[in-house]
Symmetry: C2
Subunit: 469 residues, 2 copies
């Protein structure tokens, strides 16, 4: 049995919290979007929250954890949706939010500590030199930069720049290993994939170098359309119009906007589907021309609305904020999927899925660049009935050529890769020989014999140990 | 007979030049790239060069021209390649280069007079706020902004932003009509297509509003490859890598680089094909990783080369500068084509054309975004033998699904549209009722019965009148 009192003593001088209510709160994310994960993970909690202020303190924490065989699960803002930073085996919840300094800002580039909140980073780089991150999660006000890289894939701005997986969208990561004598390593270019989107299973990020884009006074616009497919075709045309600079393009089907976007209701029309868009000020005129060509109606513009008080920013309507707004109003009725509609036939694929599922799966797309091509990812809302029906909905998508990145699984492999990322597994052997970093998230490490084709979900023994189930 | 002495008298106070040698020089562009146009246009000359300094002076010129039925052909830097600004019927050559002021620079936007040289505009916007044009012609040091819009289509930066035809890449044009009382009109969004790429046939541009992009210290890089197709595949992958910020991607086949890029010879390897690239400084590391993945070799980098004296900038190796460099060395042996290889099969189409023509048509591509998708345009060098063989080469391209924008024709229609742009024709009726603006360039105006399918080239009677042929 790991002696957490002893660990606490050995880490004297470093901020530690062990109040169980506080630890439970900091052991959670937005896993409850999924009824499956909600049942599986609701008892998960860590033993201690440790909050290092700098790399030296962090190294000390990792050294002590190694000595006592204590699991270490790094955590940023806790805005993940699949338990990315939930400590399945308990142990140390490594709160990274105190490592939040910016070290350098140059044209096109920022170097920062991983615990900085994305919106705060944007605030500072904008004030410094009119720059901002190329893209950020819709939770930019809560999410940390390191958490975004370790647990995210893309976001607001991906319609222009692609995702975190694309070479050049992360420039450098500095990480610390979990060993008797933790080592510091610097990763660039292709090596970054060893650590990006690995949920902190193979090293703790201590410094991040990111490219920056020019910061504009983005105008939030909501366009109303008669049908969801009108919104999709408009959005596809807009995303393909490279002369019109946008940061976000998300078509969302009725009745979601009118029913669940409470603060926007005065601007919206019942029954309309919408496109949520962020447009650069100097692209507003050509944007309006495109709206007109498609017969859409501009329902809201943040730069001309008489009263924007209380109206959320456009990015807080898209991505998983769409899901959040529906679930807030009807918590038991909704869950969601993450679907890829491969280009160039993406618009037709969306239409096919709409025809199959009707109102059971309500359309919400995010347009983005994928390997250079315009396509769309879906975060459709699903009217939830049973786990079996949810599995069936996923299966039907996949049988029709629309891969699903399953947000109802907490492992890296089941979440979308479907097969182990060998680079990440090899790298884990180097950086975490005892397997103490975020245990239970990489199946290949815990259970190399696991058969992905057997149709069973992986259930980490750490969970049952903690929850007693 | 138009009385140019009378016109000169009526325009007193406005700069006029009528020295025949000077007028001949300012009546020409790079039409001699084409052996066909060289023969047709070499005797073309205007009667007067008039250089207004502002819109008021310009209006006076147009009023006088209307009164005397004098043709008016607007001219910027004279860097066109198809006689765009050559006065086929003589008359007034309207030199716009004195209208070259910048009126406003804001984040993402500039308002300028049309006669400003593109590079000078970039110099001023960069000094003001670290901004520059989204894209410019390779002749940025000589070409004017207005000339680029009236006679160009895209350029260095189109790999990121698309072309001039794309909504949002030109924001507003102010034009003056040629009537008894010239009117001033403002055009935005879809209306811009009435005037863009119309060779000044339907209004004279007096003010331009353009979007700006961030100016970076672009690094010029030359990558060496074993074969042209290696260069093409690398370039395609690079253009599709949206996380790596580039401004120019041009694969050029051996033996062009080693034989004709004289100043770069010390850096190049004989027999290698190359990719000419401009990369943002913060994208250099991921760019290098991609070069390695493709087995390329970086032969030159402007940021690390020990001696860059006399080495041209990357943009002066691409677009029509490639053609120029080969023709300078072997003036009688080369001409060129403008070919479109439609995506997504563009790489395979390039390979097919290479297989058909071998060394007779030497590959040179420019990657760009077209309706949002990555594709490539070709500006291949052609080893010139006869006009008949040139026509045959064009025909074979078109029969194989690669449309040719024929640079051996001086009319708007034959240059690529193949059919009259009805919007431009209608607009000409409003703006130039006497048909005095750049006569002979819009077939639909001069000869509405012309049969494009008859297999004959249009020969403007104005030319034969001037040349006496």
């Amino acid at each position: 049995m790991t002696d957490y009192q002893q660990i606490k003593a050995e880490l004297e001088g470093i901020a530690i919290e062990d109040n169980p209510a506080m630890v439970l709160r900091k052991s959670r994310d937005f896993y409850w979007y999924s009824p499956i994960l909600k049942a599986q993970l609701e008892h998960v909690t860590g033993d201690l929250i440790v909050s290092p202020e700098n790399e030296d303190e962090l190294i000390k924490v990792l050294k002590v954890a190694f000595k006592h065989d204590a699991p270490v699960t790094a955590r940023g803002g806790g805005t993940g949706n699949y338990g990315q930073s939930m400590p399945l085996s308990g142990g140390i919840v490594l709160d990274m939010t105190k490592m939040n300094r910016i070290k350098l800002i140059e044209p096109g580039r920022v170097i920062a500590e991983p615990g900085i909140i994305c919106a705060e980073l944007d605030r500072q780089t904008k004030a410094h030199s009119g720059q901002e991150l190329r893209f950020h999660p819709s939770t930019t006000g809560q999410a940390t930069l390191g958490g975004f890289i370790a647990g995210g894939s893309g976001g607001v701005g991906s319609v222009h720049w692609g995702g975190l997986r694309d070479l050049g969208n992360v420039l450098r990561l500095r990480i610390v290993t979990l060993e008797a004598e933790p080592r510091v390593m610097e990763l660039t270019s292709l090596d970054l994939l060893k650590v990006s989107h690995a949920y902190g299973t193979n090293g703790i990020i201590t410094e991040v170098e990111m490219p920056l884009a020019p910061a504009y006074e983005w105008v939030d616009v909501i366009v109303g359309h008669d049908s969801f497919m009108d919104a999709v075709r408009f959005s596809d045309h807009l995303a393909s119009s490279t002369g019109i600079l946008t940061k976000e393009i998300a078509p969302i089907a009725a009745p979601v906007p009118y029913n669940y976007f409470t603060r926007l209701k005065p601007f919206l029309e019942e029954g309309e589907s919408i496109s949520v868009v962020m447009v650069a000020p100097h692209s507003i005129e050509p944007f309006k021309a495109l709206v007109e060509v498609h017969g859409g109606t501009i329902r809201y513009r943040s730069d001309t609305a008489e009263n924007t008080k209380g109206v959320p920013r456009a990015y807080e309507l898209g991505w998983n904020h769409t899901t959040l707004r529906a679930m807030k109003m009807e918590p038991d009725n909704f869950t969601y999927l993450q679907v890829q509609y491969p280009s160039p036939g993406h618009v037709a694929k969306v239409q096919e899925m709409c025809a199959i599922f009707g109102d059971e799966v309500i359309g919400h797309l995010e347009f983005l660049r994928f390997d250079g091509a315009i396509q769309c990812s879906g975060l459709p809302l699903v009217r939830y009935t049973t786990p079996e029906r949810l599995e069936e909905i996923i299966r039907i998508h996949e049988e029709n050529g629309c891969p699903v990145f399953n947000p109802h699984r907490y492992t890296l492999e089941e979440g979308g890769m479907k097969q182990t990322d060998e680079r990440q597994l090899e790298f884990k052997k180097e950086t975490d020989p005892k397997g103490l970093l975020n245990p239970g998230k990489m199946i290949a490490w815990d259970d190399p014999e696991f058969d992905f084709k057997a149709g069973k979900n992986y259930l980490f023994k750490g969970i049952t140990a903690v929850t007693g189930e």
